[in-house]
């Protein structure tokens, strides 16, 4: 009967969405541990983060396969189709963010057991980490609730991460004169860069949210078309 | 008794009971009995006729005129030719008239109108009217009255035509109705007018059915006696019918049979059997033709 078939389809679709957004939870966890690794310079924790990425990769494959199956068997259209297409993007971003966490964790053994060299740089990175985590959770919420306002708001926090990233760059240059500190600073820069990438991925998830709701795909912030930047919704 | 009855297992398919089988057999036997009843009666009649009249059939029989003086030299030439000529004229009359009526009723008439509904109902009734009433009709309006043709072959053909016309109309309508509307729609969608569609699609498609119907109607007409008597077909005509159907007297085989049978002379009575055989032979050929036409050209939509 068409009813129960359609119901089953809707349930499957919802299941895929829950799975994909659940991946964001996994990423948040990975991020927490990666940041802790940076702060504590815990090599064991670092290898845990690296190993745990398998879970995120597994989630990616699962969702990807589920989407293929849905497309082949159910031929979704209109709103359903947009959700399916968006989920493909979302899970890809989840997987990328997982990789970024791994990259961060990999930095630690290289940085060695030496105490952190610069408080300011560390603080910036900590702040970036907080923002990134908040972005990860918020992007998931925005998608789940189909809240475009919340999605657009991600840009604001990402801008802050970008600002902090630039600040880290300047600071790294400053302390880079000292050869000891230079290497450590380079590693910190790379970590900052990972966090900045995580921020961008979350904004992309926000764009997918807007796409699902409006049917139009528009980049929230495009370097070549700054005039298209959306205004946050008025009060 | 069986494992099934013990309730241990159930058979996958229920078997028929004894009672059911007996009932089935009994039903078939009853049907066969009814069939054989009619069959037997017909067989007895046929055998009797053939035994009586088979010896008479010869070329001479078919080409000689009836003779009251020399019954052993009698023939049914005039009656045979009369019957055949009647059939031809009847066909010429009923085919166009019947077809035209059927086409009008099926293709043009608005079913909602009361006069069309009246025609509908009455055509069925007309087929059930006794043939002698048609004889009276023919006598009153065709032989005398409005047409005033006299007791000629044409009058006989027209009367017989009127008699079987309802049958032709009904059969033709069935045949036309059997042509699916998808054919009509397809034709009209290509730009054909209604008349073009009827002439080029509907009628050709209905033709086998119509032909079969006409033959069956004629085979009914061929055996009608009462109307022919009333419109003046004569039993004893020592000449072949005039080529002009509006002139001269005529005879027909059923008339011959009737008069021969009621004649006291045994030799004349024997003529009847011969005539019956000839009539049956003609009927057989006509019906076989109808069956052949139906099987060969029947349109399976």
């Amino acid at each position: 009967m068409p009813d129960s078939n359609r119901q089953q389809f809707q349930e499957e679709l919802r299941g895929l969405e829950v799975s994909a957004l659940g991946g964001l939870e996994l990423v948040a966890g990975s991020l927490d541990r990666a940041l802790e690794t940076v702060q504590e310079r815990d090599i064991e924790l670092a290898s845990m983060v690296i190993a745990d990425d398998d879970r995120i990769d597994g989630r990616y494959l699962e969702v990807h396969q589920g989407i293929l199956s849905l497309l082949a068997l159910q031929a979704p259209v209109a709103g359903d189709l947009r959700v399916v297409a968006a989920l493909l993007h979302v899970i890809k971003h989840v997987e990328r963010m997982g990789d970024q966490c791994v990259n961060m964790a990999k930095m630690v053994p290289l940085a060695g057991h030496d105490p952190p060299k610069d408080e300011e740089l560390l603080q910036n990175i900590g702040r970036m980490g907080e923002l990134a985590r908040s972005l990860v959770i918020q992007s998931g919420q925005a998608f789940e609730r189909r809240d475009v306002g919340l999605a657009v708001d991600l840009v604001r926090q990402d801008d802050e991460i970008d600002r902090l990233n630039k600040a880290c760059f300047r600071r790294a240059l400053e302390i880079g004169d000292d050869p000891d500190e230079r290497e450590w600073a380079m590693h910190m820069m790379l970590i900052a860069r990972c966090l900045e990438r995580i921020g961008d991925n979350c904004v992309d998830i926000g764009e997918q949210t807007a796409f699902v709701v409006t049917g139009l795909f528009r980049e929230f912030e495009d370097a070549s078309h700054p005039e298209l930047a959306p205004q946050p919704p008025g009060a | 008794m069986s494992v099934a009855e013990a309730g241990v297992t159930r058979k996958a398919v229920e078997r028929t009971t004894r009672g059911q089988q007996v009932r089935e057999l009994g039903f078939r036997a009853a049907l066969l009995f009814s069939l054989s009843f009619g069959f037997l009666a017909l067989a007895v009649l046929l055998i009797d006729v053939i035994l009586d009249g088979a010896s008479l059939i010869s070329y001479d029989f078919l080409t000689r005129f009836p003779s009251q003086i020399f019954p052993e030299r009698s023939g049914i030439s005039s009656a045979l030719q009369g019957t055949l000529y009647l059939m031809v004229l009847t066909a010429v009359f009923i085919v166009p008239v019947g077809l035209a009526t059927a086409v009008y009723l099926e293709e043009y008439a608005d079913r909602e109108r009361w006069w069309n509904q009246l025609v509908e109902v009455n055509i069925q009734n007309l087929a059930a009217v006794p043939s002698i009433v048609y004889g009276i009709l023919g006598l009153t309006f065709i032989v005398r009255g409005a047409l005033d043709l006299g007791a000629v072959l044409l009058a006989g053909a027209l009367t017989l035509g009127l008699l079987v016309l309802p049958v032709v109309i009904v059969v033709a309508r069935e045949a036309i109705r059997a042509v699916p509307s998808s054919i009509r729609e397809g034709s009209m969608a290509l730009g054909a007018t209604q008349w073009q569609t009827i002439w080029k699609q509907t009628l050709p498609g209905a033709l086998p059915g119509i032909a079969t119907g006409v033959i069956l109607a004629l085979s009914r007409a061929i055996g009608e006696t009462a109307p022919l008597i009333l419109v003046g077909a004569i039993a004893f005509v020592p000449f072949n019918p005039d080529p002009n159907p509006a002139e001269g007297q005529y005879s027909a085989i059923p008339i011959t049979i009737l008069s021969s049978v009621s004649n006291p002379d045994r030799d004349v009575q024997a003529l009847a059997s011969g005539a019956i055989i000839v009539l049956l032979a003609i009927l057989l050929v006509m019906n076989a033709g109808a069956v052949y036409l139906r099987n060969r050209y029947e349109q399976k939509w």
Binding site: V77, A78, R82 | G186, A189, Q196
Partner: protein
């Protein structure tokens, strides 16, 4: 740019404010859309020419309205699909386009049907000529019980078309993608063909009268998937030279072949007595199937309703 028939002002507002972006699509969006459409053989909006103009068209059978207030243009050299649940009047409407509703005494057509700017139901218009220029293919293939040759030749013959009949027949069969299969057995009865071939024969038969438009009322619903595919291929070929309007129950088919789609729904009248069909949305097929403007359209195409 888009032809939304009954979009509420509220819905338009939702579209505009939701993205937080300007409601007017940017030129970049427009360019991308145009490219996508052209890839599908659709002209950009400005280049499409209407061939039919439907103005508040309605059809009633014996006083009971079957479909009403149909108001949209149909474009040349496009395939326009009419979709919707059973009883929404799509077949009734398509039969207005070649005056086949004239054959039903109880049917009455209101409103105006313009064809190349002229009123199709004008008093001096000959329905026979209308059907010469606007051909029709039916749901169940209906070849005549004649030879393949005579089937194709029927239309030209009754219309008194001049020219070499052999050439006319061959040309029609070629355009109908059937010539190679039947050229050696033109005199055999059409009933001997398979269902898919019979339907292609019916299409070729309609092409023989040299029409402008081909109307198709669920042409593939009685056919197997392979035959369906071949007929869809044929439709796409024919689009070059003809305009096609197709009624279909199969949404994937509408999505695959059509350029424009009109979604019909069936509603209870104000007086609560009759169910009447009307058009809810008429737009580029791509839009209907990726981002329809009306919730009813969304519900239907995603299978939640109907």
């Amino acid at each position: 740019m888009q032809e939304n028939v009954t979009q509420d002002p509220e819905e338009r507002q939702r579209d505009a404010s939701a993205s937080g972006a300007p409601a007017v699509p940017s030129t970049r969006d427009g360019q991308v859309q145009t490219q996508a459409l052209e890839a599908k053989g659709q002209k950009a909006t400005g280049e499409r020419k209407p061939i039919f103009g439907l103005e508040k068209v309605g059809v009633a059978y014996g006083g009971v309205p079957a479909v009403r207030e149909v108001d949209f243009p149909i474009y040349q050299h496009q395939i326009t699909a009419l979709i919707g649940p059973s009883g929404c009047g799509k077949s009734t409407l398509i039969r207005c386009l070649n005056r086949m509703n004239d054959l039903i005494p109880a049917a009455k057509v209101t409103g105006k049907v313009n064809y190349h700017g002229e009123d199709l139901y004008g008093s001096d218009v000959d329905p026979v000529q209308v059907r010469k220029r606007i051909g029709m293919v039916f749901q169940k293939p209906n070849p005549f019980p004649k030879s393949i040759y005579d089937n194709i030749a029927f239309g030209p013959r009754v219309l008194g078309q001049k020219g070499d009949m052999d050439e006319i027949v061959e040309s029609a069969l070629r355009r109908g993608a059937l010539w190679d299969e039947v050229k050696d057995r033109l005199k055999t009865n059409a009933f001997g063909m398979s269902g898919g071939q019979q339907q292609r024969l019916c299409i070729a038969r309609a092409l023989a009268t040299d029409p402008d438009v081909i109307l198709m009322d669920e042409p593939c619903s009685a056919l197997d998937p392979i035959s369906t595919g071949r007929i869809e291929d044929l439709m796409l070929e024919l689009r070059e030279n003809y305009s096609i309007v197709i009624v279909t129950h199969n949404m994937q088919q509408a999505a695959r072949v059509s350029n424009m789609t009109a979604f019909f729904t069936v509603e209870l009248d104000e007086d609560e007595k009759h169910r009447t069909g009307r058009v809810v949305e008429y737009d580029d097929t791509e839009k209907i199937f990726t981002n329809p403007s009306d919730d009813r359209t969304e519900a239907y195409v995603t299978g939640k309703v109907g």
